[in-house]
Symmetry: C2
Subunit: 580 residues, 2 copies
């Protein structure tokens, strides 16, 4: 053993103890007669001292130490003269009697500190050094704890962790697959799974009852800022259950995660229909850490005579509490914000509630004070509040109000990353109509069951059918989603009919699952959580990248290992493929 | 909820209780006035009874049930008249008041029983039905328990589970990689990892100290009977450790697995040098459930005058206790066994110890009774034992004795799959000389450290250097292997020199790891366990296939999902590759 203790464990009560530590040199100060060396490991930092009267050889070693050298030091724990109350070991230091360089280091390309001086790209290239920094170590440790907690909880609930294959079959539906050419079956390809969806349903058909897996998934999509070509899912499925059973089980799991990993005790998670989420937040993943719900203007509130309102399909408002003091400049910025092409609102109307209760709006000339007071009342606005109104098509207005609400939440400090507001969104539409191809698509996937109440509608007006599907949302981010699956062959056939699949097409795409369904499929349903994202939410960050030890950049490259890369012609030949 | 209880949970003490069960129909017996239905889930089997006086509709349903239908039944638990003591629920039955078919089933292509009537291929195609059988369910549940135990143990020891990427970089050394064409980086490829070896070493350089992962690995090799193109590894690494630390840690883990999963309390695991393993068992993975160690014949024992012994580089024997009664036919079969081309011995010599203590051998005329008695003494053979002797080149004779010993172990019932003899094999050779390419190859990998005592030899006679490497072996199967790694740049450079790598070649193959090593690499070492194999050993089987939910066949095909398969030309175009 190279050490008796870690660099984070020694305290004043250890004074007098002979110890051996090993770690990386964080800092060296050679102060003439004495030398101070901070050494670091993942448990903390401890100060070593080479005393005035120490052997010359020790001073010699200390004089030649550099940042990130790996050293092993033996000495006696003693109380520090100048205590450092910023670190847990700050009351002690080690009076070193022996020090050995285990490994030298070149000068690192950026500082290994809480906040580094290295830019993003440099830190990605030297990921192994960035991973030494405390913030990343906290993230990786958080992720570990979360994974263990998930397993502990589900194991205790009788779930079995079952591994499904990574070399599977490519299907045309859905996102683009990564494929793997087969050498033994030349001209054929495996695909990497986008999710183990069909396998987990197969496992239910096989009687495994309660399945889970923390599993890598792959999607060959053009990468947006915060997408990774490989990502990790907590994938779960249960048999002989209805929606309530699934929601209760995984709300229990989520609550245990909040409690045991974050130390946060939460009550029941609110459930909101998709319809309400759209109506009040303009989003199927509302951030309910703060209120500011949409208020749709009734015909009375809209009045008549103001052309913008008269022409609008939808008029709605949010009330930003305490924002009446917004300046003209701030209001112009908000207007520009909603008019950006990606949002596309035609403008922003505001109304301030003055200290005396009177309402002052940007469209005063079209409305009486009485009408404006009615707006304030509808929006439950009080003195000092700011009402922001958008008019337009329903689609654009809802989107604009949604973005505006989130922006106001940011500006007013209502989106504290340390505060958590988890919820369920339920009753999604089953189908989406695609104008271009003039057909329905399954919003979730073709095995999602309609809700019981809508079974008849499925045969008469499928576009109106609600799915027995649910999303787990926290702080405006979708962390998980799932559904009760169809286990009845007639309903499944109707689904294919509605989606416009012929029997042959259904067979080609889902053959083995449909085959399995012939031999007694139990009622079942499940959910999958985006684990990377859940980690980021718990860590209080937007980006998943720093919760993945070795992420890829936006071009799908791992710049540390320089991958992907060309391969030898001989390799291509063996696979019987060639480059175009 | 579709059920109040499982099909395995009800007992006599539940009599009188109203319950709802759901499961698969195992068997239906319509006996005129009454019907008996066995329903099954993963927890057990329960008998349902439709009584004589039950509603006609119930009899109607029962009359139309078939094997593997999924049903939901409500009724009252009552004591059985004819108890079945073979199953835990055998004291009770359910007097059914309601029964509902949740899902019908076609007649399955083979019986879903402890022992099925289906052949291998049929069961692979309908894996989802085979997975319903109790033996496979036990295997999958065993695997789950083992995985949870590994995590629990390592988590408690401060190990962090850290996920490493699946889309990595192809390297020419080692087995053949599976590759993944990149669409975003046309003409370039990712590779699927053969193991996370370099990443786990990187993590040590990054200060994570104690890492583990239960991780899928991929090797595109021609498949032998019991290899899979994707397999699962328990991958571990520790920093600031020496060999003893690693062995103690993982012996602790293995002991906990034996104790908590198998209910077997084991003492310390024996440690054997590679040299001794070869000398006494002719194998680097000896099955030490039984003795029968090799006895090498000294010049005195070989005597002179027997041409076979005189010409042999090596003469050695094993003593099969109680096998003196072997018939001529049995001995001929053993002779044929060692003469098979894959073993290649030139023959087999035997000597029986008769009841009176005299020795009778197949080469009596070349040896005196006194000489034969000396053999018996050297082999510690007693009356009733059979000595089996092989002579030849050291390589062939050791291999033949090894196979012969295992065969005799089988024949004499000494290889009980319920008995476990784990051990460590240590001090492997560092290098293997390859005659064809006239160069050394790393036996483990090029980052394996020589043992300290052999550091000097590394510069003078590298072929003799022992590696600081170790294998975890149980019942003659290698379950795990690892080593202390080189963390010193000079030693690493010497290793590349010995392997005949230029700096450029080393850089091209291991660039990012060598890069990381420039910035302070701690001493480290680790181990990886073949998880599929460990499961099979615990389950008492030779084949890993039935411990993997969805395995591939020997042609690398998943016959259930029919993969690999051709992909669309459009997909190939997007990847900018074409078939040859």
């Amino acid at each position: 053993m190279y050490r008796t203790d870690s660099c984070g464990s020694l305290r004043l009560s250890d004074a007098g103890k002979m110890v051996t530590l090993a770690g990386w040199v964080q800092k060296v100060r050679n102060l003439g007669a004495m030398a101070f060396i901070d050494i670091r490991d993942r448990y903390g930092i401890t100060q070593l001292v080479v005393d005035e009267n120490a052997a010359a050889q020790l001073h010699e070693v200390a004089a030649h130490l550099g940042r990130e050298f790996v050293v092993q030091a033996t000495g006696t724990v003693r109380e520090r003269a100048a205590k450092n109350n910023k670190i847990p070991t700050g009351d002690i230091e080690i009076e070193v009697s022996e020090i050995k360089v285990l490994s030298k280091s070149e000068t690192p390309p950026f500082t290994i500190e809480e906040i580094s001086d290295g830019g993003d790209e440099l830190r990605m290239k030297y990921r192994y050094l960035d991973l030494r920094r405390a913030p990343l170590q906290r993230n990786i440790i958080l992720r570990h704890k979360m994974a263990q907690k998930v397993r502990q909880y589900l194991d205790a609930q009788g779930f079995l962790e079952i591994e499904t294959p990574y070399l599977i079959k490519s299907t045309p539906e859905g996102a683009r697959d990564f494929v793997v050419p087969s050498r033994m079956n030349a001209g054929e390809f495996y695909a990497l799974p986008q999710s183990p969806q069909t396998f987990k349903q197969i496992l239910m058909v096989s009687g495994y009852d309660r399945y889970f897996q923390i599993v890598r998934c792959f999607r060959d999509e053009d990468l947006r800022a915060d997408r990774q070509p490989e990502f990790t899912q907590i994938d779960c499925e249960m048999a002989f259950v209805e929606r309530e059973d699934v929601l209760n089980t995984f709300e229990g799991m989520a609550r245990a995660m909040f409690r045991d990993v974050m130390g946060i005790e939460l009550g029941e998670f609110p459930r909101m229909s998709y319809a309400d989420a759209m109506k009040y937040y303009g989003s199927d993943k509302p951030d309910i850490r703060f209120g500011m719900r949409f208020v749709e203007f009734s015909p009375e509130l809209k009045g008549s005579g103001f052309p913008v309102f008269d022409a609008a399909e939808y008029v709605g408002a949010i009330c930003a509490s305490g924002a009446a003091s917004y300046t003209r400049k701030q209001l112009d910025e908000l207007t520009n914000f909603v008019k950006r092409p990606q949002i596309g609102a035609s403008g922003l109307i505001y109304a301030r509630i003055e200290a005396d209760g009177s309402v002052k709006s940007s469209v005063d000339k079209f409305f009486t004070q009485e009408q404006l007071q009615a707006w304030a009342k509808a929006c439950e606005a009080k003195a000092g509040d700011l009402i922001l109104i958008i008019a337009g098509t329903q689609k654009i207005a809802l989107r604009a109000l949604c973005e505006l609400r989130l922006e106001m939440g940011n500006q007013l400090g209502l989106r504290d990353p340390q505060k958590f507001a988890p919820m369920w969104v339920v009753d999604f539409p089953l189908l989406e109509w695609d104008e271009e191809s003039a057909r329905f698509f399954a919003m979730h996937h073709p095995f999602t069951s309609p809700i019981k109440e809508d079974f008849e509608l499925f045969y008469t007006d499928p576009g109106k059918v609600r799915a027995d599907a649910y999303d787990f949302v926290c702080n405006g981010v979708e962390i998980g989603g799932g559904s009760i699956r169809i286990h009845n062959r007639e309903v499944q056939n109707r689904m294919f009919e509605v989606l416009g699949f012929s029997k042959e097409e259904a067979e080609a795409q889902f053959g083995f699952l449909l085959g399995a369904f012939k031999y007694g499929a139990p009622p079942h349903g499940g959910i999958a959580f985006g684990f990377d994202r859940w980690c980021a939410i718990f860590g209080g960050h937007d980006s998943i990248r720093d919760y993945i030890a070795f992420p890829k950049n936006n071009a799908g490259r791992d710049v540390m290992i320089d991958s992907p890369s060309p391969i030898a012609v001989a390799q291509l030949d063996e696979l019987q493929i060639k480059l175009k």
